[in-house]
């Protein structure tokens, strides 16, 4: 006996309506499960992507010319719709990990590249010591940091460190800060990630 689930029919709808209707139904529905009926592979693929991006379980089945997509909401579905809790990244070097500095610099670049895909909301990024160079002209991660900042991330570079490396006038993203502010953020933000 199948559990009760709401059904959304998106057959005949043009992009991006299938994804939008599905999202609306997921937000409005009280049921744990939602079944979406689509009539093309693109709609099926995009609805599956939407479901995964909202941390839902999803299964798609083809019956003839139609696609039945079964979506199961996680218990904390409400949280999936809210922005992530605040995260602070304390970046204390321009190289990630130990063993090879060249590899470390590449890893750091790729790290910010991957981070920038998540968007900037709720993120605080603080650069200290050699990490400040990542926020300055010529940094391999600069484009990603600018994108994060544009999307709501707060970015800071320690002033003492910028002075030490003579980079104060080359800061290209974020603001200059000091240890009072840094300490305040470290203590206030629930999740601190040290790089």
């Amino acid at each position: 006996m199948e559990n009760q689930s709401d059904v959304v029919d998106v057959r005949g709808l043009a992009c991006p309506q299938p994804v939008i209707r599905t999202r609306q139904a997921l937000e409005a529905s009280q049921q744990e499960r939602l079944t979406v009926v689509a009539d093309n592979e693109t709609a099926r693929d995009n609805i599956v992507k939407l479901a995964r991006s909202l941390s839902c379980g999803v299964e798609a089945e083809q019956r003839g010319a139609e696609f039945y997509i079964s979506i199961t909401k996680p218990e904390d579905f409400g949280a999936a719709l809210e922005p992530l809790e605040s995260q602070l990244f304390l970046v204390a070097s321009n190289s990630l990990g130990r063993g090879s500095e060249d590899l470390g610099k590449l890893l750091m670049k790729n790290f910010f590249y991957t981070l920038s895909e998540q968007g900037g909301l709720g993120k605080v990024i603080i650069f200290i010591n050699s990490g400040v160079s990542l926020a300055c002209t010529g940094s391999p991660a600069l484009d990603y940091l600018l994108e994060l900042e544009q999307d709501g991330a707060e970015i800071f570079a320690c002033g003492t460190c910028l002075d030490y490396f003579k980079l104060k006038d080359q800061l290209s993203v974020g603001q200059v800060t000091n240890l009072y502010t840094i300490l305040n953020y470290l203590q206030k933000v629930p999740r601190v990630i040290y790089l």
Binding site: A14, C15, P16, Q17, V19, I20, R23, E41, T42, D45, N46, I47, V48, K49, L50, S53, K109, N110, Y113, T114, S116, E117, Q118, G119, D143, E147, Q150, D151
Partner: protein, 330 residues
């Protein structure tokens, strides 16, 4: 129209040959080129489509910029343009059409060209674009078939107009996102073309409906080379990746994927959202140039000088080959 369907149609077209037809349908490129004199050739192209934004003036600007781009991609200078209009006059009235034409006219004037006429028909769905004629010196034509091993690939506009336009249609794009989308699509490739002519490149194409990988495939295939792309170097419009991850993907992406996937190899990790964006159909995208190592920095400097905010070196030509593209993930 998807690349697969188009290729099938073009295969059955009668082939024209003429000693003065320098670039025709034989090797598909951005525009046709016909020599008039030893020092002068005509460049011709045509482009029109349905609205991608709500504001009629902006739509006119975008459609015009898109049509003019193909002239620039060949190394040419636009001279004259003809308006192409399909429009439901009874349902929408005259005012929006006037705004579309004003937008198009302003963009043509910005390009230093003139609108010499046009044609309009009744249609249930509005469409607008231009047929554009330009000129180029026969020795200075830039085709998409000249890429050489060792060349760097430089892209002048970020990707993601397909995803953002889809988001806009679905009410999922904020005003700032809408503004950036309009700005990038209505930006002329004139400055990029000037930089290109000044420095000299081996090949060029503009990135439009077939997506980055579709147009790269054309360049690779026509040039007889294999390409490698560094996924971390590909620029995207703000929010593009987030929206792609949420499934806000235009219909054209799957056509492009189907056609180009046989020629693409993936190494390392590339997120599904980024994969989709590499096939995202672009409207009025940037120029993609293949430039020799010795001229790369000069080209980047010239592009910045012309106001290109983020010229990106996205990959290189690895060697002669059958037109394969390797995407290097992280």
């Amino acid at each position: 129209m998807g690349p697969g369907a188009l290729a099938e149609i073009l295969d059955h077209l009668p082939k024209f040959e003429h000693p003065d037809l320098l670039v025709g349908c034989g090797v598909p490129d951005d525009a046709g080129v016909y020599r008039l004199r030893p020092d002068l050739a005509l460049v011709q192209t045509v482009d029109f489509f349905t609205p991608v934004v709500d504001d009629p003036y902006t739509f006119g600007q975008i459609a015009a910029a898109n049509a003019l781009s193909d002239i620039y991609a060949m190394g040419g200078t636009p001279l004259t343009a003809l308006n192409l209009v399909a429009y439901p006059l009874c349902t929408l009235g005259v005012a929006p059409l006037q705004e579309i034409l004003r937008g198009g006219g302003d963009k043509v004037a910005e390009a230093g060209a003139v609108i010499v006429g046009g044609h309009s028909i009744q249609d249930d769905e509005p469409k607008y674009g231009l047929a554009v004629t330009g000129i180029v010196h026969p020795d200075q034509i830039v085709t998409n078939a000249g890429a050489q091993p060792g060349d760097w690939l430089v892209l002048t506009k970020p990707l993601g107009t397909g995803v953002l336009a889809t988001a806009l249609k679905g009410g999922l794009l904020d005003p700032e996102g809408e503004r950036l989308l309009g700005e990038t699509m209505s930006a002329l490739n004139a400055g990029a073309a000037r930089a290109m002519r000044q420095v000299g490149v081996d090949a060029c194409t503009d990135i439009t409906g077939f997506g980055l990988l579709g147009h790269l495939r054309e360049m690779a295939c026509n040039s007889g080379v294999d390409l490698e792309i560094d996924i971390t170097a590909v620029p995207y419009l703000p929010q593009a990746r987030k929206l792609a991850r949420q499934g806000v993907i235009p219909a054209g992406t799957s056509n492009n994927k189907e056609y180009v996937t046989p020629y693409v190899e993936w190494t390392g990790a590339v997120s599904p959202a980024e994969q989709d964006l590499l096939f995202d159909p672009q409207t009025s995208g940037g120029l993609l140039m293949a430039v020799p190592e010795a001229k790369k920095e000069l080209l980047l400097a010239a592009l910045r000088q012309e106001g290109i905010r983020r010229p990106s070196v996205i990959g290189w030509v690895v060697g002669y080959g059958a037109g394969r593209i390797m995407i290097r993930g992280i």
